[in-house]
């Protein structure tokens, strides 16, 4: 059965007909052509699919597309404006917080979700906010450093 839903995705209003059992992740990738949220586990365990939904970091593999009707969705594609990187993106580059990059979009969105609600987190709060985002490559250290760096500069 198809349902028509309307979302604001990265500032743009989009209307799509979705199947009731399809997830927001699937619809973003397959129907809306937004591929930065990655398929890591489809089980809510890895965070590779993290997007901001109404400002909150969610695992888009656990959200049914129909539940997202009317929601505002933001993905990493929306962060850099006119070639200017968002401070979090910049910090990830500078701290070399990236290796294979598969976790990176989700990691950045989780970090943004945290800084939007808590602009000055402690290291432990950063680690906790990112605990749902698995990274097999980096050992997390420099991801945490990058987020702390942005928090300290306070320009997120």
């Amino acid at each position: 059965m198809l349902h028509e839903i309307t979302l604001t995705v990265n500032g743009e209003q989009r209307t799509v007909a979705v199947k009731s059992h399809h997830t927001l992740l699937k619809v973003l990738r397959e129907q809306l052509g937004i591929t930065s949220p990655k398929i890591g586990c489809e089980n809510g365990e890895c965070g590779a699919c993290t997007v901001l939904m109404n400002g909150k970091a969610v695992n888009s593999c656990l959200v049914l597309a129909v539940e997202a009707d009317g929601a505002v969705i933001e993905t990493v594609e929306n962060l850099s404006k006119e070639g200017e990187l968002h401070p979090l993106q910049q910090a990830f580059v500078e701290h070399n917080a990236i290796q294979c990059g598969f976790c990176t979009p989700g990691m950045i969105m989780s970090a943004k979700g945290l800084l939007d609600r808590n602009p000055h987190p402690t290291v432990d709060e950063v680690k906790e906010a990112l605990a749902g985002n698995l990274c097999r490559c980096t050992g997390y250290i420099r991801i945490v450093d990058a987020v702390m760096d942005v928090a300290k500069k306070g320009d997120a």
Binding site: K38, C100, G101, F102, L134, G139, Y140
Partner: protein, 779 residues
């Protein structure tokens, strides 16, 4: 060599692919949605060992949306495949040997239709008894997993790798202090965040282009050519961005590439297969499990005399890389020490426990846990400090290794040990923690050392070729057959090119790996990219630099040796600088070729596989790591507080990249030490997603301090060695040795989880086939 002489080597740099990755622009194979593209899905075995009695794929074709279906009949020689042992098939033929093995594959308009197609296939399997215990794989009455052998050895025998020096049994008789213990490691899942996948696009000439998240695209190509019978010129393999691999995206992905290519040729449409996490965990190969039996003998004064290491390696259903893994394990099984006599025998066997293949450290991760635990136990028996004991016996420049190889340079182990001793405040903490009496929580500190042969070693032909070309916009494009799946070699090649050509790194572009533009340089494995392709890149860039220098001299009307550089500009005796662009233009007008190949071959070495002696590798990475832990004695929970790591990497070319490898490697080692266990119960994997297969999160990682000991390594580019694998190898034994220091309990079976630390054993749990069976049939 002073750092001052380099502009980019060893200096801060950003990863060349960082921008694409932080903006979400980087495309991985699953991000390709082509018009007309079909989705593929494989029918996978639900039995660990069975005969295929009846296979009828026709019903799948009646399922709406299904376009094509294939079996082993669609390949030449049933798609027989495998290196070094040809024991596998592109799709199962006659038999299945493990749960998750692909039997048939379907391409359909949607993933749902593909899954329905798979479910419609009629496949009757007749169960066969299985082998699930490697220690009984070679019993005379063990069920037969492997093929009959020409030499009439047991069909479940795969290979045996020896190292022999003298007669340790004789020497052990003389040793006042002897230790004999057994150690076990379990299968480990790579857990790359991106699962396996391949996309095949049929081309108008009857060939196929395949995008595959493999490590070594030329091997994928070779397999495609062999099993599809295509003209090599019609087969092209492109490696898009790869979401991690760690050794894990070889064999299974070669099979996947063959399957999608056959489907695409049949359907005459693009076909993509990407694995669900469940499918990935069930079907993919793992780090082998190893059972190690170690005997060490020493004199009272702490001089190590003899080592015996008799190991069994569970290769699972197929050989994959196990003979090479076992070989690397054998070379490193005695650790980085001097001995009078050594006997190592590592035997790999077939079972029906999934299948084992390459994983970071490649046999040494397992062997290092064994020997570094045993060395710690022996130090304790001798009443010696673990670092003092290692310092007394470890390899130094001028020593001859137990293999018979004289080490002439670049052995920084002593310095590594001294570095971590100091950084960790070892002596004070060893003494302080020895006095703890709390029954609740205690701290401990432990050490482990490593040596790790660089590159392939005597495993195979070892050379690489890179290419370089100046493009019309004055940028420089380079290609390498050794690829980047996250480790960072593209950045290494960039820095080398910029250094040699005297240009800004921004001008340099390293192409993504593509068999049509790069030159086959062997597999991207064994942490060999920096040394092999780094040298090849350097040779290519130097050749091009000479051409440009010649053109500049012509322009500046002077001898080539009088041409100087200021920034990118060329300057002659009249001191008027000419820009890089002008020199390039001039070279073009002179008709010079502005492209070059650079080839580099590793020094020739030899290993005698029967005598167990020779020169296994042309160089070694050395390292020492110290772990500090806090253990909750009541529940057995270990928190790693700190890791100090000193690695003799030779000259570091891309420091942030090298550090990233160390942090990431330590974290994987921590997982291996404390939580990761891919358990097979009667051949069924018990954890099929990250809810039950736990890997370290941001909350689990300790503070990490890394130092590089940069001994010069003359064959390496600028003196560089390797880092990717060695980073993880000593972490697990360092942590387990620290747990012993904290608790007085010796964990000889990994992982050191709550039960093993609190109770000294793992509680027996009954296994279940359910998660595998369900996992293969969902999403």
């Amino acid at each position: 060599m002073s750092d001052l002489q380099y502009k980019y080597i060893g200096k801060p740099a950003d990863r060349v692919d960082a921008l694409e990755k932080v903006t979400g622009a980087a495309k991985y194979v699953g991000d390709y949605y082509l018009p007309d593209m079909l989705y593929a899905r494989a029918l996978r075995s639900e039995l660990p060992h069975a005969r295929i009695k009846h296979l009828d794929t026709r019903p799948a074709l009646n399922v709406p949306g299904v376009i094509a279906v294939i079996t082993s009949e669609d390949f030449i020689d049933h798609g027989r495949f495998g290196f070094p042992v040809k024991d596998h098939f592109a799709l199962a033929f006659e038999k299945v040997r493990y749960v998750g093995q692909a039997i048939a594959a379907v391409a359909a308009e949607t993933p749902e239709a593909a899954l329905n197609g798979v479910k419609a296939i009629i496949c009757e399997l007749e169960p066969l008894p299985g082998v699930f215990d490697m220690d009984h794989a070679l019993d005379p009455d063990a069920p037969q997993v492997g093929f009959e052998r020409e030499d009439h050895k047991h069909p479940n025998f795969l290979d045996m790798s020896p190292v022999y020096k003298g007669d340790p049994d004789e020497v052990l008789k003389d040793c006042p202090v002897v230790l004999h213990e057994e150690y076990r490691t379990v299968h480990q899942e790579h857990s790359y965040l991106e699962t396996e996948g391949a996309l095949a696009i049929p081309t108008s000439d009857g060939g196929v282009t395949v995008y595959c998240n493999n490590q070594s695209p030329f091997i994928t190509k070779g397999n495609l050519v062999a099993v599809l019978g295509l003209d090599p010129i019609k087969v092209r393999v492109i490696q898009p961005h790869v979401g991690g691999s760690f050794g894990g995206k070889d064999d299974l992905n070669y099979l996947t590439a063959c399957q999608v290519a056959a489907l695409a040729l049949k359907a005459k449409r693009p076909v993509r297969m990407t694995f669900s996490r469940e499918e990935s965990m069930i079907a993919s190969y793992k780090r082998d499990a190893m059972h190690m039996r170690i005997t060490l003998g020493a004199d009272k004064d702490g001089t190590l005399r003899a080592c015996k290491a008799i190991h069994t390696l569970d290769s699972g259903a197929y050989s994959s890389q196990s003979p090479f893994t076992a070989w690397r394990a054998s070379i490193h099984a005695m650790g980085a020490y001097r001995y009078d006599a050594v006997k190592v025998e590592v035997t790999s066997v077939y079972t029906n426990n999934g299948f084992s293949g390459a994983f970071r450290g490649f046999g040494n991760t397992e062997a290092c846990f064994g020997i570094e635990s045993a060395i710690d136990e022996l130090a304790e028996k001798l009443g010696m400090d673990p670092i003092d004991f290692r310092l007394k016996n470890c390899l130094r420049v001028g020593d001859v290794t137990p293999h018979g190889q004289k080490l002439t340079e670049s052995v920084g182990l002593v310095e590594c040990l001294e570095t971590v001793r100091k950084l960790s405040d070892w002596d004070r903490k060893r003494a302080e923690y020895a006095r703890q009496t709390s029954q609740d929580t205690r701290c401990g500190i432990g050490v482990a050392v490593l040596f790790h042969g660089t590159s392939l070693g005597a495993e195979g032909v070892d050379c690489a070729t890179n290419t370089i070309e100046i493009l019309p916009d004055y940028s420089v494009a380079c290609a390498s057959g050794l690829t980047d799946y996250g480790q960072g070699p593209r950045t290494v090649y960039t820095l080398i090119t910029a250094e040699e050509l005297g240009i800004s790194p921004e001008r340099v572009r390293i192409l993504l790996a593509d068999t049509d533009t790069a030159i086959d340089s062997g597999p991207t494995v064994a942490s060999r990219s920096t040394i092999l392709a780094g040298n090849a890149m350097r040779v290519a860039a130097q050749t091009l630099a000479r051409t440009l220098n010649f053109a500049a001299a012509d322009m500046l009307k002077c001898e080539p040796q009088r041409v100087m550089r200021i920034g990118e500009a060329y300057v002659g005796p009249n001191e008027e600088p000419v820009s890089w662009e002008k020199v390039v233009d001039h070279a073009r007008s002179m008709g010079l070729v502005l492209s070059a190949h650079g080839k580099w071959s590793a020094p020739e070495i030899h290993w005698d596989h029967h005598k167990g002696t020779g020169t296994p590798y042309f160089g070694y990475h050395f390292a020492a790591q110290v772990a500090e832990v806090q253990v909750d004695l009541r529940i057995g929970k270990t928190q790693v507080l700190n890791i100090w790591a000193a690695h003799d990497t030779g000259k570091v070319i891309f420091p942030q990249g090298a550090l990233g490898q160390v942090y990431g490697g330590i974290t994987q080692g921590l997982g291996y030490a404390l939580m990761e266990e891919a358990i097979y119960a009667d051949g069924y994997l018990q954890s099929v997603n990250f809810d039950t297969y736990l890997i370290p999160t941001s909350m689990d990682v300790p503070d990490m301090t890394a130092r590089f000991v940069e001994t010069n390594f003359s064959p390496g580019p600028y003196g560089a060695k390797n880092i990717a694998e060695p980073a993880m190898v000593p972490t697990a034994p360092a942590i387990v040795n620290a747990i012993y220091h904290a608790t007085g309990k010796r964990i000889r079976v990994l992982p050191a989880d709550l039960e093993r630390v609190a109770l000294g054993k793992s509680l027996h749990k009954r296994g279940s086939p359910v998660s595998c069976k369900v996992g293969l049939k969902v999403k």
